[in-house]
Amino acid sequence: MSQYFKLLALEVRRFRYVLAGIMVYTLIVECVAVALDINNHSRLFEWNNDSRHSFAEVIRNTQSGFQLAIVIPVAVLLAYALLIWYRDWFGRHPFIYRQMTIPGGRAPLYFSKLTAILLFVFSMVAWQLVLMSVLRIEYVWLTPDAMQEAVDFTEAMTSNEVFNTFLLPPSFKAFALNYGLGILLILILFTGVLMERSYRIMGIVAGLIYAALNVTLLILPTTFGLYLYSSEIWAICLIVFGLEVAAALWISLILVSKKVSA
């Protein structure tokens, strides 16, 4: 257990500059987007004194700014889900030798990399929430008093389409669904990486087939709409999800302990 924590701390420390980098990037892009929108509206406000501009409207107007702010960190994290393994294999210094020969088995290694990625993802999501407060302060600071309009936080949060659909949906159930699927995706990705590291090209083929199988099995219950009720389909999908998570963990642990080649 302590090996796991040490390895987790190690993985987090190795990524700290990149993580800080994408956090700063998101901050800057969103601040600039908000500032630009307020500036645009200020000009409109000069013509029409009645046209107030609430924080929610600012958010509604800056969809593409937020998309830009979010898509790069997402790409970086996705890439690192692969690189967190591959960076230690290739190059002149194969650190994977050390990671694979630590006393205490390979499971701590696997879980430390997995939870590191998840920690980065949730940290970025939390960071985005924090940023909303920062942006609100920026709004209050930049917008002339006469142009401001009060609005509650929920309204602002739900004005952003990316938030509503993917990142921070209004209901916790939707959040759990989205991120549950995201975690499964990472698990499948890791399994694919370990398959490739164990069986090279055959491993890539196996990994792709495995991923396709997972997706198919998860969607399959939804095609039974004629014979099953919604609640039953939901229950089956949930069970399939649980089994897929378990299978991914089990396969990955076996591969990383017995089949992987340094």
């Binding site: 420390r13 700290r16 940290s123 924090v130 389409e161 921070l168 669904l177 709409g225 999908c237």
Partner: protein, 436 residues
């Protein structure tokens, strides 16, 4: 070289570093947990407001069976909500639900929900056909295909015994190229009637030789007892000019011994002054013939003498059967191509006595609104209509015979707030349903 020590000693400097390396992990974990729980844990219910159907006038008991469904919009995403006297229910539809709703072809039907809750194993997989029920029986009828021939699949549930049976009926040896439509199903005492319309396509693809047949089937054995052909004048003509429409018994729990058949013909060379949407041709002028068909003895009664109908009357009216009573309710919505009317005309004929028993008109303003929804719902001899005053939905229930208001309900917020208008602006409650 023996100077290499084999003793074990930990240096102090290392211990300090050991603790500091966990700091980053702890910070990130703390931020994530605290921020996300604050966001999702804090007053989650505030996101979708709670509504309630409140009685403004009249009998509470009537309001019990009413529910209004629609959407509450957060951003551009609609969240499906149901409002009734006890409160609000939201399905909290997840993307998966929406995805599945798109996959399956059935929509949401209030009547079905009640049946599905009461008889889950019987109702499984049944969504395309017609159903009818009495105290004793629940009947589900579908058309199914076997070896290129259409046949009726009758699923019967004896509610008391909990037993269900399935019968397949092929009557008259229907050949392959016939088209068959199940027009109506009616349980009548110990029998069930299927009204089937069969037609043959002609060379141009229009239907010809429409034949309406009433098959009388015994509920307990599933055997066909009788086959009655209903001869409607004009059915020999091709469908471009001749159409048949059947009015099913919508009242739900009273078995009406009749069904209404509307036979219409496009009058040659006549066109109305109204344009159809999308710049199509001018709407043809049609003449309508109304018939009442009695299930018990197969009698077909012409109603035109009672109902000297104009073009506007028959075409735009909705018909409801309540036992022996036939109501025609017409609003002016159809004319304006919208779903809201400013008034409704109600006319009633008693089919057993072949005589009028009521006729009146109600305007939306009488009920306190600018518009009223169309079509209306009819149940238990009561007409239910949704009103939309300042986009705050209201429901009015009128006694069908007398035209008197017996109930009025309005949708209110559970907790009244200052910005009620904003909340209602994001709501679109426009579908009236009667809970079974």
């Amino acid at each position: 070289m023996d100077k290499f020590n084999t003793g074990q000693q930990k240096s102090i400097g290392l211990k300090q570093k050991r603790i500091s390396r966990y700091i980053l992990v702890c910070i990130l974990t703390a931020i994530s947990v605290v921020t996300l729980s604050a966001h999702y844990g804090y007053d989650p219910d505030a996101r979708i407001p709670r509504f309630r159907l409140e009685t403004a006038e009249g009998d509470d008991a009537i309001g019990q069976s009413i529910q209004i469904t629609g959407n509450y919009y957060i951003g551009a995403t609609g969240h499906f909500i149901k409002v009734f006297p006890e409160g609000t229910e939201f399905k909290d539809r997840l993307p998966l639900d929406t995805f599945m709703q798109g996959l399956s072809f059935r929509g949401y039907r209030a009547g079905f929900e009640g049946l599905t809750d009461d008889f889950p194993s019987f109702m499984r997989g049944k969504s395309y056909g017609e159903f009818d029920q009495t105290q004793e029986w629940l009947a589900y009828v579908e058309l199914s295909n076997a070896k290129g021939r259409t046949r009726i699949k009758l699923s019967l549930l004896n509610k008391a015994a909990g037993k269900s049976t399935v019968h397949y009926l092929e009557a008259g040896g229907w050949p392959k190229n016939e088209n068959i439509l199940l027009e109506d199903v009616q349980v009548e005492d110990k029998n069930i009637h299927f009204l089937l319309r069969r037609w043959k396509p002609d060379s141009a693809g229009y239907s010809t030789n429409s034949q309406l047949t009433d098959y009388v089937v015994d509920l307990s054995s599933g055997n066909i007892l009788n086959e009655r052909e209903i001869a409607i004048p004009g059915t020999e003509v091709s469908s471009q000019s001749h159409q048949i429409r059947l009015v099913k018994d919508w009242s739900g729990d009273t078995a009406s011994p009749y069904t209404l058949i509307i036979s219409s013909n496009a009058e040659p060379e006549k066109r109305s002054t109204e344009k159809l949407p999308q710049n199509a041709d001018l709407r043809p002028v049609r003449s309508y013939d109304l018939f009442a068909y009695r299930y018990a003895d197969g009698k077909l009664e012409a109603l035109n003498d009672l109902w000297p109908n104009t073009v506007e009357d028959a075409g735009n009216a909705n018909y409801f059967l309540n036992g022996d009573d036939l109501y025609a309710i017409r609003g002016d919505a159809g004319r304006k191509n919208s779903t809201f009317s400013t008034f409704i005309d109600v006319k009633g004929i008693n089919l057993a006595r072949h005589a009028h028993f009521t006729a009146y008109s109600i305007g939306a303003s009488e009920l306190g609104s600018q518009t009223m929804g169309s079509p209306v719902l009819f149940k238990n001899g009561l007409i239910h209509v949704i009103l939309n005053q300042d986009s705050r939905p209201m429901v009015a229930v009128i006694d069908a015979v007398t035209g008197k208001l017996v109930y009025k309900g309005k949708v209110v917020l559970e907790k009244s707030a200052n910005d009620e208008e904003k909340v209602f602006n994001k709501t679109r409650l426009d579908t009236l349903e009667i809970r079974s």
